[in-house]
Symmetry: C2
Subunit: 198 residues, 2 copies
């Protein structure tokens, strides 16, 4: 009797390989053939999991999102919420986080011309804004924030994070880890001071 | 005697056509052939201006940057500097500005795997941070800011702008113009309040 194939595990392994290929070589580098080769599968076996290049790219994007979500979940201290820790965990200081951002940049380049990819990106961002808002609601340092103020601050903090990362990824020299963390902390401090003064 | 060809004007016209094609269809849509066809040139004539697809993409990126720079220059009131007006002029409310951002997103998708493109992006961002800092130095609303504080705030404001735009472009429904302007103004207000409280 042949050993049972764990298809979920294989799909995951292929998405992981594809994410590495996209991050290093851009969307064009993650061909069905290249993914098969890097994973040690036949091209035919890969088509069992991804019907075509588009499906591969979509799954790779989702895989990068899940990979980063695991890191953000791990960033939260037991029993309390910490927005600063959440945002720090998404800085491209960690090699895996940087890889995931590279996959997203590559995906955005496709999403501008692909309504389904654009909708995927939109939904991910809406979800993530919701997650930041939920953490703001439980982080004692944001206890003074009203429920109505949370979504806007969540959007602003996400904007700050994305905007910093787009600068960092293309200019590593000027952006050592300390400076990346400093830029996030400045945004948080500014928000705290602005609330106190109002 | 045949009429003299204005090569600069032709190059500009081709870059304009290419920017429209990239914004609508992504980097893959701007082939030499498609650009030639849309501009009413022969493919051979286009190769006179762009040796290959990569050169076309690089010039298109620069063209989008110049196109937006013209808009940001025009945003400044005569005789004084206005950071809010500068940032507002780069929101994808104007169709041309949105087109230019779409070209940049597409370019980033390539730049993650192309050191020369990445260097171009890095230099543009450094330049633009410098321009924002210069405007901060002359905007009366930021007169209290020291020269040392300006570059960091310039980076933060650029991050906020980029981060907002990446949300807007894939979620137009939730981001009418008023809300985009509100997000920029919130960042500026927060910065002003934080400075007053410190």
């Amino acid at each position: 009797m042949p050993a049972a194939i764990d298809h979920d595990q294989r799909r995951l392994a292929l998405a992981e390989v594809a994410a590495d290929l996209v991050a290093a070589g851009g969307a064009d580098a993650a061909t069905m053939r290249a993914v098969a080769q890097a994973a040690g599968f036949s091209t035919k076996a890969v088509t069992h999991y991804f019907a075509d290049k588009r499906a591969l790219m979509l799954l790779t994007y989702r895989h990068a999102a899940l990979s980063s979500q695991a890191l953000t979940d791990a960033s939260q201290p037991v029993g309390r919420a910490d927005v600063a820790a959440l945002l720090h965990s998404l800085l491209p200081i960690d090699a895996k986080v940087e890889r995931n951002w590279r996959v997203w940049f590559s995906f955005w380049g496709l999403a501008i011309a692909d309504p389904e990819f654009a909708a995927e990106q939109r939904d991910r961002v809406r979800d993530f804004v919701g997650r930041i808002a939920a953490i703001l609601a439980s982080d004692p340092r944001f206890a003074d924030l009203s429920a109505e103020e949370r979504p806007a601050l969540a959007e602003d903090l996400l904007a700050q994070l994305i905007g910093i990362v787009t600068q960092v990824v293309f200019d590593r020299e000027q952006w050592p880890p300390k400076r990346q963390i400093g830029a996030i902390d400045r945004a948080l401090l500014r928000s705290a001071k602005a609330r106190k003064s109002s």
